[in-house]
């Protein structure tokens, strides 16, 4: 494998920085500072809890917004600005370009999340709580959020290979929400007497990425431990799904007529 995907990844990250994407960190910092100061005065008994919940939720939502809205434009922008043609005239294969774009956005998300994690740690320190061993759950919950974001980015990239940004956003959001309710859909099917619906909901359950499994915010907020088995299972699940989506995206993009 050539070094081209790495070059594309670094440039994608630089482009995100140039587009002032990381400015969301300022908003995150203000949110954490505000919460740390205000919550103690307007609520009872949840100062630390709300900092962890708010911090992890913000990391997840900010990341989701970035993953979806930047992800759907990864390919489309290059075609729209016609920069893709000069890029593909160089010794780079289409799938390498896609993987590089994907890795660049993941790098942006990882750096963004790392800064937010540091902000969360400072806010927790501010509310006067020493760090304890069970805080490892917070780091695992952040890792799970990153896995979910990587999956969402892969979905957004997949749709961006053959659809407009507007439609890709809608499709990605629809898959994300369906993935959150995957278990409910399966349970709904189990309640019916129709074997067709049962089969259809079961197929849908295994087809859509089950995002609910990546949500450990409440567990981390209460300082409970997250089983190690879930860590490797979620990691493997995300990697396999991402690989599947990247292969599918590459297949579609390789056959796309760019004229």
């Amino acid at each position: 494998m050539s070094a081209m995907p790495g070059v594309v990844a670094i440039n994608t990250f630089r482009e995100a920085v140039r587009d002032r994407v990381l400015y969301n960190l300022v908003f995150f910092a203000l949110l954490m500072i505000g919460a740390a100061i205000i919550v103690g005065q307007i609520s009872i008994g949840i100062e630390r809890l709300v900092i962890v919940n708010l911090g992890l939720t913000a990391i997840s939502i900010f990341g989701l917004v970035m993953a979806i809205f930047i992800g759907v434009g990864l390919v489309y922008k290059e075609i729209e600005k016609r920069t893709l043609y000069s890029l593909l005239s160089k010794p780079i294969r289409r799938w390498e370009f896609l993987v590089g774009k994907y890795a660049g956005l993941i790098l942006t998300l990882v750096i963004n999340t790392a800064f937010m994690t540091a902000g969360l740690a400072v806010a927790l320190f501010y509310v006067g709580r020493p760090f304890v061993r069970s805080d490892a759950s917070i780091l695992i919950a952040i890792y799970f959020i990153l896995l979910a974001l990587a999956l969402v980015t892969a979905i957004a990239l997949f749709f961006s290979c053959f659809s407009s940004p507007m439609l890709s956003t809608l499709f990605t959001l629809a898959i994300y929400v369906t993935g959150l309710f995957a278990a409910d859909i399966r349970d709904f099917g189990a309640l019916t007497h129709s074997s067709f619906i049962k089969t259809a909901t079961s197929v849908l359950y295994y087809l859509v990425p089950n995002f609910h499994d990546f949500n450990s915010i409440a567990v981390a907020a209460h300082g409970e431990s997250i089983p190690f088995a879930l860590v490797w299972q979620n990691t493997l699940y995300a990697l396999m799904y991402i690989a599947l989506l990247l292969v599918a995206s590459s297949a579609i993009f390789s056959r796309r007529n760019l004229k």
Partner: protein, 303 residues
């Protein structure tokens, strides 16, 4: 436009923006003054189904639970200043908070207090028991919730058997403190004695960090101490009557009969007042209040 013209426009804009903001502020204040009374009159909780809210939270139910719990605290605190206070939304708010996050211990612990208090709460110990039982089911092994349940049964429902059972259950949890076993045994033996009440309220005072709850516990402890004092003073007055055939006319007479040492004062430092029937009462200037037995029987549990 010339340079001078552009500069003039810039300065005009810089002056106009704060002026327009100031005008908007006053206009908004006027609109608020008219609409606030209407808004205050109608209390609303648009979504009452905890299950529906949980689904709509898209996985962020933990943060939403914190928001609902904060709303419950604000609702409770905001209502306290009202006369003839009622808390119709307190239970739904607590129900939603604890459904969204079944491990939100603060909502069970403080919410039960808000629900059960007859004077500064919703006077619904039945709902408080329901809330705490839900908390125990979701957080097995948490002895503090068992202690809360024991307290509710003991103080608000005067159900000493269930109170003893709750304390015993708490003492059997892995981290359950030894005093809970002692409390269970004491409740079995002596039920609602003043001494037991003081022990339980002392535990409430010592195990809480919230200033409102601590103040409530402290005031109740003062009231219980005053009740104990009055009982002892009344006994001394009866003894005086047995000796002299009539009730004492003053505290000085009791001191003269060596039945009292000094002037008896309540926990706020005000001297007790001796009535013509030999019964001691709290000084009208004192802020101490003797705790009342819950008078209103608990209503059926809300759906």
């Amino acid at each position: 436009m010339s340079n001078a013209g552009q500069k003039r426009s810039l300065w005009l804009a810089l002056a106009a923006i704060p002026l327009l903001f100031a005008a908007l502020f006053f206009l908004q204040a006027r609109i608020d003054a008219r609409t606030r009374t209407e808004a205050q009159a109608k209390e609303e909780l648009l979504l009452r189904s905890p299950a529906a809210i949980e689904k709509m939270s898209l996985g962020y139910n933990s943060l939403l639970a914190d928001i609902y719990w904060t709303r419950a605290v604000q609702y409770y605190g905001g209502k306290l200043a009202d006369e003839n206070v009622h808390f119709p939304l307190l239970w739904p708010l607590l129900d939603i908070s604890t459904t969204l996050d079944p491990k939100l211990l603060a909502a069970y612990h403080f919410g039960a207090m808000f629900l059960s208090e007859p004077r500064v709460g919703a006077n619904r110990p039945d709902l408080a028991v329901k809330l705490i039982k839900r908390g125990i089911a979701a957080n097995p092994g948490n002895w503090r919730l068992d202690a809360d349940l024991g307290f509710l049964y003991y103080w608000y429902l005067r159900d000493y058997g269930d109170a003893a059972a709750a304390y015993l259950a708490g003492s059997n949890t892995p981290q359950g403190p030894a005093w809970m076993k002692f409390m269970a045994a004491r409740l079995d033996q002596k039920g609602g004695s003043l001494e037991t009440s003081r022990m339980i309220w002392t535990q409430v005072y010592e195990s809480n960090s919230d200033p409102k709850i601590r103040k409530l516990a402290l005031n109740t402890l003062k009231g219980l101490k005053a009740e104990q004092d009055e009982r002892e003073l009344d006994t001394a007055a009866s003894e005086y009557r047995q000796r002299f055939g009539h009730y004492p006319a003053s505290v000085a007479e009791m001191r003269g009969a060596a039945l009292l040492h000094g002037v008896p004062v309540d926990p706020d430092g005000y001297p007790y007042v001796l009535g013509p029937d030999g019964q001691f009462e709290l000084n009208p200037h004192s802020s101490v209040a003797i705790p009342q037995e819950p008078k209103t029987p608990p209503r059926p549990a809300a759906k």
